[in-house]
Symmetry: C2
Subunit: 427 residues, 2 copies
Amino acid sequence: MSAITKITDLPEYMATMGRRAAKAAKALRLASGRTRAAAISAMASAIRDNSKAILKANAEDMAAGKTKGLSPAMLDRLELSPERIEAIARSLEAIAALPDPVGMEDAHYAPPNGLKIARIRVPIGVIGIIYESRPNVTADAGALCVKSGNAAILRAGSESLRSALAIHKALVKGLKSADLPADCVQLIATTDRDAVGHMLGGISGAIDLIIPRGGKSLVARVQDEARIPVLAHLEGICHSYVHEDADFKKARAIVFNAKMRRTGICGATETLLIDERIADGFLPFIAGDLLDAGCELRACKRSRAILPGMNKVTQEDWSTEYLDAILSIKIVDNIDEALAHIDQYSSGHTDAIITENDTAAAQFINSVDSAITVHNASTQFADGGEFGFGAEIGIATGRLHARGPVGAAQLTTYKYAVRGDGHIRPA
Amino acid sequence: MSAITKITDLPEYMATMGRRAAKAAKALRLASGRTRAAAISAMASAIRDNSKAILKANAEDMAAGKTKGLSPAMLDRLELSPERIEAIARSLEAIAALPDPVGMEDAHYAPPNGLKIARIRVPIGVIGIIYESRPNVTADAGALCVKSGNAAILRAGSESLRSALAIHKALVKGLKSADLPADCVQLIATTDRDAVGHMLGGISGAIDLIIPRGGKSLVARVQDEARIPVLAHLEGICHSYVHEDADFKKARAIVFNAKMRRTGICGATETLLIDERIADGFLPFIAGDLLDAGCELRACKRSRAILPGMNKVTQEDWSTEYLDAILSIKIVDNIDEALAHIDQYSSGHTDAIITENDTAAAQFINSVDSAITVHNASTQFADGGEFGFGAEIGIATGRLHARGPVGAAQLTTYKYAVRGDGHIRPA
């Protein structure tokens, strides 16, 4: 059931998958929102019904992973339990319940020529998703694609492929129960690494968009090698800037949360910037909070003049995504120096200002060129769920199509409907 | 003044241009809409003031082109006159007067966590535009980029480079008079073909987007070789489908206009589909109109059974963008056959249905997967100006970022502004 298929002719296997995806995409594009939602609800039921088989496949992955010597963190990401399976099913139900992003008219134009023009959201087509060891991504990614009317080609990490195959079987049951083609969500059933290369080449035009979801080395490979569009973020070097007009109580709570709520996520703050005029009054308190919680502080010379116990920051720190309980700290002269630092070192993901001064906040939001700019809140809100988008497939830091959280709506594109009554265009 | 520069080290020349563009893009991003509009208005004045120098440079291009043996059509596209220069200046003034697309908040979210989130249009960054012999593209493309807050790197066709350099000089005057960096619009001052290769590679990340504007061979090269995103259309194989419930009078006028108003534009109809039930009554009239106007008709067997005089259509015709007074004609059984034909042969540009039946129109608009779908109007309305977008840089038929007419608004992307009041994210 969860057997990994032996593929003798990978190019032909991938080409067939591409053709099937293109055909399924057409069926999905024409399916109603109700049908797509029903398929996703049925996927959730099938996940629950098949939980024993999924757990059995996952146990095989876990055993192989232990033999292979995977790290405890990787094994934890890989491991499923009845509770985690229930969470997967609930996540699918939440995606099914999202408003339908397809068919929405999001702009209207009435030019002087008398035509009525509507801009209508439509699916992108076929989306390739390449991910690592978390088995839930199989379900979430497949369901988000179906919700947005896109066919999916999924490539799971080799260490989680048995679990992914078992989950995929449930997704296919859901599709079939809603009379949608099984090929709406396909999973590559081999661990052959060359399959990724085929995906990055687009399989002769079959794949419209690639989304990598995983660590920096995976994303970097995809961004370097893809010959088709990619939605992704390479890293989240996020800043929290405490302006001289900050409310100290808010600032302490926000900065602590931005760093420490979860240190391993891309929206975690990695660098704290503090205005020189308030550094004496603010730094000792936030530093105390963070040190008490076990956070390492790497600070600039001016910061260490206030609090000598902190470690020295190096030039490299400003460009480092720690994903850990480590924070780099810099005292800046003013907002201009803060903006210059962010302009140089931000990865374009999420950057925040904490201030009661609306002019400074407006200047920050206008100047910072990141996908998400934040005023008086934690950078850890950088998440599709917190934006109210429902589940997200990731955060994008590129400049085209979609930036920030990528949920079902961001997986659509648009077309125009032009309505006339015999209109011909004058010479 | 209109001398073509000798470049000894092209890689360094292009790298410098990339760095300058990135720097200028930042200045443009922070400039107000009023400043950007003032620069474009000043460009228009400088075009008028420099018209003698522009005409002189153009005369040199024309002389070289005649020596080189350019076709009369190419020479016509290349040639400037006082009237054409005035039209360039007016086009710039129209772009200056467009609403500012930058800074517009085009969506708002108020998720349950209490944050206020706005989605704000921002410039893309640096746009590379590769075009052929029309000198006005230098002005239009440069001004559209400045309007949308993007720095431009322009690559003119070698046969029009002297004219482009003279026009570019006026654009720089306009930028300077508004205190914007001259590097906001740069023009590659060499005919070295390797410069295009550098642009398609993105100049080490300096260029965010490439827009080719020209014939099919240019666009095909750009689409094949670019390592960065491209907005373009390769061809416009547009269909007009006369449904059985069409109003014949409207249909005759629309189809004639869709084919014959201008046969050389991408939105011109290349294939006419007619429902079998009305073919007897409709085909002879529209065929007569078209034949009288000098249009060649290439028709299917069923069509020739009604009107034997027409030429035979071949399989290849259905995939051919004539850009000429030629029309392929097919009689279809019903809307399903029409949709299947369009699905197979449309280039995804613009396709129209002519019918008084709203159910059929809705089915057509829902099913046809092209950038522009049209009901009861000419496909020749596929144009940014007709959509009310002002000037356009072209039509896009890709699936990501922007589809259909690409004007100043479509040359922007977005970022989010998240506004809180001390919000921290719960565990």
